[in-house]
């Protein structure tokens, strides 16, 4: 992973700038009404004019997404490790987890409100619910595919299950877990916003989900786009943070990051 490479930063940045310019030009040429599709400049202006409200909203949503993500990470790694360690559980629970992943959050969200009430708890829970599966699956996959050769080293020295997990299974599955977490990070933000759709408090410090709904109702499409853009920013920030931490954790493995053993046995 070369996140410091200049090309990897510049190329997407140029692509984004070109896309925005094309969008602006297309809006200007076709004369499409702003309530249907505002141009990026119009959206930027709206974001600037509403910066205080949007900033507060982003903080609210980022908080719900981050807390949900952290909870999902904890549950996902612990449950994934237990499931990976016990073959019976793996056979019994893995299909169940897969099915649970298929349950649409939008359908579950109203239930979360009934169970947890309005406000932050439901947004956090919604973020947690969608973010758990990728971590869980990645943890399981990472830990069942630990190099058997390394397992033998630990077996030879009579390592206990706990020791083997903490010194081998967990570190060996970190590249997998980081991959899962990167997916979870984006999902957590989506989850938080869906949660806010059904439970977010209105008012001055309304979260992004409520700002989107409210702007939609007022036909302020520019504000809808602005809020949606900030949803993406929050998601990207969380994704970036996870990617960076992951990179720090596995950077010294280099090529072996893909195959934790580094060798073919």
């Amino acid at each position: 992973m070369k996140i410091r490479s200049i090309r990897t930063v510049i190329a997407p940045a140029v692509a984004v700038v070109i896309a925005l310019a094309a969008w602006e030009v297309a809006v200007a040429i076709t004369g499409v009404r702003a309530y249907l599709l505002p141009g990026p400049l119009e959206i930027a202006r709206t974001m600037w004019l509403n910066s205080a409200r949007l900033f507060d909203a982003s903080i609210q949503t980022a908080m719900a997404a981050t807390i949900g993500f952290v909870i999902a990470t904890g549950i996902g790694i612990v449950a994934g490790s237990v499931i990976a360690a016990v073959p019976v559980l793996r056979r019994a629970l893995y299909p169940l987890a897969t099915i649970l992943q298929m349950v649409p959050l939008v359908a579950v969200a109203p239930l979360l409100v009934i169970w947890l009430g309005f406000g932050l708890p439901t947004a956090i829970a919604a973020a947690t619910v969608v973010a758990i599966f990728p971590v869980l699956a990645a943890t399981i996959d990472g830990q069942v595919s630990v190099d058997p050769g390394l397992r033998e080293i630990f077996a030879l020295h009579g390592a206990s299950g706990w020791t083997r997990w903490s010194k081998l299974d967990l570190p060996a599955s970190i590249p997998n877990i980081v991959t899962g977490l990167r997916i979870s990070a984006g999902l957590a933000v989506i989850g938080a916003i869906v949660g806010e759709f059904v439970s977010g408090y209105g008012g001055d410090d309304a979260p992004l989900g409520i700002v989107v709904m409210s702007a939609m109702r007022e036909a302020r499409t520019d504000l809808v786009f602005g809020a949606v853009a900030l949803c993406a920013v929050v998601g990207f920030a969380l994704f970036g943070l996870v990617s960076f931490v992951g990179w720090v954790l596995v950077r010294r493995w280099h090529s072996s990051a893909v195959d934790p053993s580094g060798e073919k046995s």
């Binding site: 080293i153 030879l156 020295h157 010194k167 010294r252 493995w253 280099h254 934790p260 073919k264 046995s265």
Partner: protein, 261 residues
Amino acid sequence: MSASHVSLAFRRVSRTFPGGVVALNDVSFSVPAGGLTAVIGPSGCGKTTLLRIAAGLDRATSGRVELIPKSILKDGAVHFAGDRKTSVCFQDPRLLPWRSVIDNVALPLELAGIARADRMARASQVIAAAGLSDAKYRMPSQLSGGMRMRVALARALVTRPEVLLLDEPCSAVDEFTRMQLDEEIRRVWQASGATTLLITHSVSEAVWLADQIVVMGGASIDEIYQVQLPQGSRDRTSAGFLFEVETVMKLLARAAGVVAT
């Protein structure tokens, strides 16, 4: 370290895998205390199974492996004493990629519950003896294949084993590196005085290192050959060395059923 007082004896060891494949059939020989015995044979002759049984990673279907004077393995049952009588070095280095050289070498001591300062000191000694001091804090991914094997050897030695089991440690490196590794294995063997069992498919390696060569064909022993060269003055280009190689090569060919002699 003084030479080991433990000899490693295989007593009528057989191993049949589920499904009926016979890996070992009535194998008996012993590695004298402080000696180095090489086991050679064609692929699939059960060499590695032999080592795995000695290491306690596999069970003999019948027969036993004994450490004399102290028996560790009876009728395939694993009896691991708290003290590490045996150490294994596999054909791949099996290093933890997220740990530095010294942390990898110290792993067996760490798993044995030795305090950090103590295990670091001991690991440093082994690393220094192996000439790896410069690489002490490097990561496995930053090392060459040969260096990784030397780290793996160092890890096997850090518990000061009486018996050292080496499973084709040079199979994955080039010829030049193999010669260097063989030098290292000899140094390690002589410095530790460990009773050593070396599984290899290289005749010249076996002749250069071992004082006894077990030639296996199929699942059983075909020949046990005593190398007629004094340890310490073996020269890969000498006529005597080449003659020994040729002799063992013939035994191996017969064992593999390739040439009639």
